[in-house]
């Protein structure tokens, strides 16, 4: 069994998750990462995606949308602006958001903010993937 470390996920409204975990995986601006105990101290910025928390008893998934992470050797703190458990996600809304975002990106019209649309798309995909 792998060593565990303390993980805390905090949102502006509450402490979303607190516990000892073996591994946590999420997306950052530099790509996907998986963190085990004794990771090098680091601060990373989050990209929308699925966060997978591996507890000794099993796995938990959630859709993580924005924020940043402070990684210390025995403690990881995720400051999340927005994060949802699978049962809080509205699938239909996420699917229609995905379509809308794809249309906007495909249209390539001058007034379309591609960055915003692609973040909206990533967010919708994070929600959908989290439920799979």
């Amino acid at each position: 069994m792998a060593d565990t470390f303390a993980l805390r996920i905090i949102t502006p409204d509450k402490v979303f998750y607190e516990g000892d975990v073996e591994m946590v995986e999420f997306n950052t601006t530099e790509g996907g990462v998986g963190i085990y105990k004794n990771h090098e101290p680091m601060t990373v910025i989050i990209r929308p995606g699925v966060i997978t928390i591996t507890e000794p008893e099993g796995e938990k998934r959630a859709a993580l949308h924005a924020g940043f992470v402070e990684i210390l050797q025995d403690k990881v703190t995720i400051l999340a602006e927005s994060i949802e458990w699978p049962d809080e996600i509205d699938v239909e809304r996420a699917q229609s958001a995905e379509e809308r975002a794809r249309e906007r990106i495909a249209s390539k019209a001058g007034d379309v903010d591609i960055d915003r649309a692609s973040i909206a798309l990533q967010r919708a995909l994070a929600r959908i993937n989290c439920l799979k």
Partner: protein, 283 residues
Amino acid sequence: MASMRDIKRRRSSIQGTQQITKAMKLVSTVKLQRARSAAEKSKYYFDSMYRTVNSILSRVGHIEHRYLVPGDSPRKAVVVITSNRGLAGGYNSNVVKLVTRNDALKKEDLDIYCIGNKGRETLARHGYTIREDLPDVIEDPLYSEVNALTARLLESFEKGEIGEIYLAYTFFKNTVSQEPRLIKLLPVVPEESESESNAIMNFEPEDVEAIEMIIPKYISSLIYGGLKEAIASENGARMQAMDNATSNAEEMIDKLSLMYNRARQGSITQELTEIIAGSEAIS
């Protein structure tokens, strides 16, 4: 001496007022409990945010970044958080005073972003420039709305319209004491005290880019935290004000009851004297 009927009318009107203040006190007590637990829950986030940003900045202190130095413009933006409703004692005027009584903040150079009606009314009357008026945010604070406000503030900062950003709100110390505070949001000034362990921290992406992304989140979180504190403070202040009003009303009612009883007694005595005098005259 006031007539019996006048005293009675006055007393019943005060009793009516007392019932209102009593009810308002109860309502704000309940609201306070809710607001307080919300403020406590969100505190973790802001404390962690504050600590992280400070530790990042203290490590990259030498870096030149536009968020770390004042902008060229002499104009300053102040986000003022007050309430939409009155009857909260000195709560609103204390926050407004932070702005009007501050010599460093000149009236002509200020852009006010007002959250809450009461502050806007007073500041507008004093002739301040109200850039934005957001009374709804206080009723149900959403992080996304605060984020949008931060984005607008930063846009204005980048365009060079404003050089500094401040936040005026009321810090919730405890139920009986709230403290109006004015803090500087931008440029970010890292705290000098660096007692914590100097673990080497790496950044992904690089320092400058990280600051670029974290500072807006930092500002949003400070405004959001201020908002939560302010709501708790508002209800605390109102609870206290209404408690005082209720006990003042009680005092007045007691006084008026005494006066009424005296007047009644007086009129009875007078009537008796008249009867006795009348019967003596006949016999």
